[in-house]
C-alpha cells in the first residue's frame, strides 16, 4: 500500500523501533533559542554530557531581544542574563549562534529557511511550538519542550510515538486580496483549536500548490494553533527554486542527488489518511479573530457572534469569557472595531513578502491618528532586504515604526507590549489572553488587513480604502 508524505519522511528517520515503545527518531536539524534552552544545557553539564552533533545545531537570539537600540546592552537585566547564558552555552558546547547585531540573527523559524538549512525530507525540532513552519518544505518539523531539547542535544534523537495522518485538501484558488493567513484562520475556525491533535497534517490541493513558499510557511506555522503535531506541504519546483543557491543548500552533484530524493517526497496516489478535511479556497474572504483563541474568528464582513448561538456548552462559555476579556458586544460589525496598535511581524507574517504586501497598501497613505504601527522584520536579513527595496521609507513615511528583527510583540517578552485594555490588529499567531501584554486585546489578521487597519483605524481590508 502507498505511503503518505509524512510516513515516508518518518520511516527514513527511524533509528530503532520496538513493540510497545515509541520510535527513536533521528533529528536532522535542532534549532535553539534563549528561552527554552538554559535548563537543557545545564542538564548536560550536570550529567557530564556533550552536544552530540553541534554541526546539526543552530542557535539564535529572538524571543526577548529588544527591537530598539540593539547596539547597546539589553536594558532588562533578566533578559540580558538569559541571552548571555545562551551565548556562554553556545561557546562552551561549540554550537553556532547568530547573536543580536549579526546579519543572520532573527526569529528562529525565519532564519532556518533563509540560510537553506531547512530542506525537504528532514526532521527539524526546536523548543518552540511554531517549528511547524519548516514543514512548508516537506520536512517533519515540530516543537518540543526543554527536557526534549536536552535529549536532542545529548543524543540527536527523540523517542516519538507515530502520529496519525491527516490531509487538508484545499481546492480552488484564493480570490484576489485573500492570503494564506486568511486561509489558515478560516480553517482553524472550521476545525477548532483541538481539531488536529495527534496528527501530522499534509496541506494539499490546487490552492496550496499556487502559494509561494512564504505563504506555505504561514500556513504550516499555524498548524499548532489547531493542535496538529506538525504541518507539511509536498516539495515541488517552487521549493527547489527557493532553496537553490542558499548558503547551506547542496551544490553540484549533491544538489542533483538531493532533488532526485526530494521528488519522491509526495503522498502516493493509493496512500490513505486517517482523516481528511476539505476546504474550497475560492469561497474565502479576509478573515479576522474576535476572541481569545485562534479558532474564534469570522470573515471581516461579519459581526461579533452571539455566545448564545453556540450549541456546545464549552464553546458558549468560552465565547462569553472571550467577549468580556476583549471588551466586545455581540452583533458589533467587525469593521466597526477600533484598534490602538497594529503589529506587523512574527514568524507567521514577518517575511519579505509580508512586508512588501503591507507596504504596497501603505504606499502614499498615512497611519490613522492615534494608532501606532510597529513593523518588526522577522530577521535581520529581511530588514536589510526591505531597506534595499525602500520599504522602510514607505513604512516610516506612513508614520509607522521601523524596528530591528525579533519576536517582539508576538509574545511581549521584550519591551514591545500592549498595555492593559489596549487593542491590536496583529499578524502574529496567538490571540490568547495577555499574550501581547497583560490585559492586551489581540485580533489576528493578515498583513494586508493589518496595513489597511492602520490606515483607517478600524479593522479593514485594502478594498475598503
Amino acid at each position: 500500500m502507498g505511503r503518505t508524505l509524512s510516513e515516508k519522511v518518518w520511516d527514513d528517520h527511524v533509528v530503532r523501533s520496538a513493540d510497545g515503545e515509541p520510535d527513536l527518531l533521528y533529528i536532522d536539524l535542532h534549532l535553539v533559542h534563549e528561552v527554552t534552552s538554559p535548563q537543557a544545557f545545564d542538564g548536560l553539564r550536570q550529567s557530564g554530557r556533550r552536544v552530540r552533533r553541534p554541526d546539526l545545531t543552530l542557535a539564535t537570539e529572538d524571543h526577548n531581544t529588544p527591537t530598539l537600540n540593539i547596539d547597546q546592552p539589553i536594558a532588562d537585566p533578566v533578559s540580558r542574563t538569559q541571552v548571555d547564558t545562551l551565548r556562554r552555552n553556545a561557546e562552551e558546547f561549540g554550537v553556532r549562534i547568530h547573536s543580536l547585531g549579526d546579519k543572520d540573527q532573527g526569529v528562529v523559524h525565519i532564519i532556518g529557511p533563509q540560510l537553506g538549512v531547512t530542506q525537504p525530507g528532514m526532521t527539524v525540532v526546536c523548543g518552540d511550538s511554531h517549528t511547524s513552519t519548516h514543514g512548508a518544505f516537506g520536512a517533519i518539523a515540530f516543537g518540543i519542550g526543554t527536557s526534549e531539547v536536552e535529549h536532542v542535544l545529548a543524543t540527536q534523537t527523540l523517542p516519538q510515538a507515530r502520529p496519525r495522518t491527516m490531509a487538508v485538501n484545499v481546492s480552488g484558488e484564493l480570490p484576489e486580496g485573500v492570503t494564506a493567513k486568511d486561509l489558515v484562520l478560516a480553517l482553524i475556525a472550521k476545525v477548532g483549536t483541538g481539531g488536529g491533535a495527534g496528527h501530522i497534517v499534509e496541506y494539499r490541493g490546487s490552492a496550496i500548490e499556487k502559494l509561494s513558499m512564504e505563504g506555505r510557511m504561514t500556513i504550516c506555522n499555524m498548524s499548532i494553533e489547531w493542535g496538529a503535531k506538525a504541518g507539511m506541504i509536498a516539495p515541488d519546483q517552487k521549493t527547489f527554486d527557493y532553496l537553490q543557491g542558499r548558503p547551506h543548500a547542496p551544490q553540484g552533484e549533491e544538489w542533483d542527488a538531493a532533488v532526485a530524493y526530494w521528488k519522491t517526497l509526495r503522498s502516493d496516489d493509493d496512500a490513505t489518511f486517517d482523516v481528511e478535511v476539505d476546504l474550497d479556497a475560492s469561497t474565502l474572504t479576509p478573515f479576522v479573530t474576535w476572541g481569545t483563541n485562534p479558532g474564534q474568528g469570522v470573515p471581516l464582513g461579519e459581526a461579533v457572534p452571539d455566545p448564545s448561538a453556540f450549541t456546545d456548552e464549552v464553546d458558549r462559555s468560552a465565547a462569553e469569557r472571550a467577549l468580556t476579556y476583549m471588551g466586545l458586544d455581540a452583533g458589533t460589525p467587525m469593521r466597526d472595531i477600533k484598534v490602538d496598535t497594529v503589529f506587523l511581524g512574527s514568524c507567521t507574517n514577518g517575511r519579505i513578502e509580508d512586508l512588501r504586501l503591507a507596504a504596497s497598501v501603505l504606499e502614499g497613505r498615512q497611519v490613522a491618528a492615534g494608532v501606532r504601527m510597529l513593523v518588526v522584520p522577522g530577521s535581520a536579513r529581511v530588514r536589510l532586504q526591505a531597506e534595499v527595496e525602500g520599504l522602510d521609507k514607505v513604512f516610516l513615511d506612513a508614520g509607522a515604526e521601523w524596528r530591528a528583527a525579533g519576536c517582539s510583540m508576538c509574545l511581549g517578552m521584550n519591551p514591545d507590549q500592549l498595555a492593559p485594555g489596549e487593542r491590536a490588529a496583529s499578524t502574529s499567531n496567538r490571540n490568547f489572553e495577555g499574550r501581547q501584554g497583560k490585559g492586551g486585546r489581540t485580533h489576528l489578521v493578515s498583513p494586508a488587513v493589518a496595513a489597511a487597519t492602520a490606515v483607517l483605524g478600524t479593522l479593514s481590508a485594502p478594498a475598503d480604502l
Partner: protein, 201 residues
C-alpha cells in the same frame, strides 16, 4: 526523577476550557535560567482575582488539578509544567490536553491523567461538594478515587512505565547509542550541516 506510583492529596477544580500555556505562565515570567521559582507566574493573570479558585481557602493546599478541555495548548514552554510543579501540583486531570504539554509533563514527572469530559464534570461536582475529601491517583491501577467515586484514567504504557520507574529518558536512549551511530553512517551526504558556517556574506 522520583518514581511515581500513587498520590493522595486534595483536588482543585479549574472550571475553564482552553487554558493555554500563556495562561498557565505568561511569557514575562519565562526569563529564569533554572527549573525552579516559576510558582509566582502560575496563572498570573488570575492570581489577584479574589474569586479565582486558587485563592479560595478550601483549595489553598490542593495538589491535584482538575482542568477543563484543551488544557496546556499553545506554546511549547516546559515552564508551564515547572510552574505547576513548583506550586505543588503532582497531577493534572482533564479530558483533552495540548500534545506538547502532555509530553513535557511526562518528562518532568507531572502525571497527566486523561479522562472523559463527563468524568471531569463528576469529579468537579464531587470536589466542590466537599473539598476536604482526599483524592487518590493510582498510576498502577490507572484509577482516581474520591470518596465513593471511582474514575479510570488513560495514560500510554510507555509514559506510565517511565513515571513508575522514575527513569531518565536520555539514559534510556543512550543504551542504543550503537544504533544511533549506525544510523548516522547511513545518512545521505546531501543533508545539510550548520558547521562550518556559511552565510550569504
Amino acid at each position: 526523577m522520583e518514581p511515581f506510583t500513587t498520590h493522595t492529596g486534595t483536588a482543585v477544580p479549574l472550571r475553564r476550557s482552553n487554558v493555554d500555556t500563556d495562561q498557565i505562565i505568561p511569557a514575562v515570567y519565562l526569563k529564569r535560567v533554572t527549573r525552579t521559582g516559576f510558582e509566582d507566574g502560575l496563572f498570573a493573570a488570575w492570581r489577584n482575582q479574589p474569586d479565582f479558585v486558587l485563592n479560595q481557602p478550601e483549595y489553598k493546599s490542593g495538589d491535584i488539578l482538575i482542568a477543563g478541555p484543551d488544557f496546556g495548548t499553545g506554546s511549547s514552554r516546559e515552564h508551564a509544567v515547572w510552574a505547576l510543579q513548583n506550586y505543588g501540583f503532582k497531577v493534572v486531570i482533564g479530558s483533552r490536553f495540548g500534545d506538547i504539554f502532555r509530553s513535557n509533563s511526562g518528562k518532568s514527572g507531572l502525571l497527566v491523567a486523561l479522562v472523559q469530559q463527563s468524568d471531569v464534570e463528576r469529579l468537579w461536582d464531587a470536589v466542590e461538594a466537599d473539598p476536604t475529601v482526599p483524592m487518590t491517583v493510582d498510576l498502577g491501577a490507572r484509577r482516581i478515587t474520591h470518596g465513593d467515586l471511582q474514575v479510570d484514567f488513560q495514560i500510554d504504557d510507555y509514559t506510565r512505565w517511565r513515571l513508575m520507574e522514575g527513569l531518565d529518558d536520555i539514559a534510556l536512549t543512550l543504551r542504543h547509542e550503537e544504533d544511533i551511530t549506525a544510523f548516522e553512517a547511513s545518512r545521505p551526504g546531501f543533508k545539510p550541516a550548520t558547521l562550518p558556517v556559511r552565510t550569504a556574506g
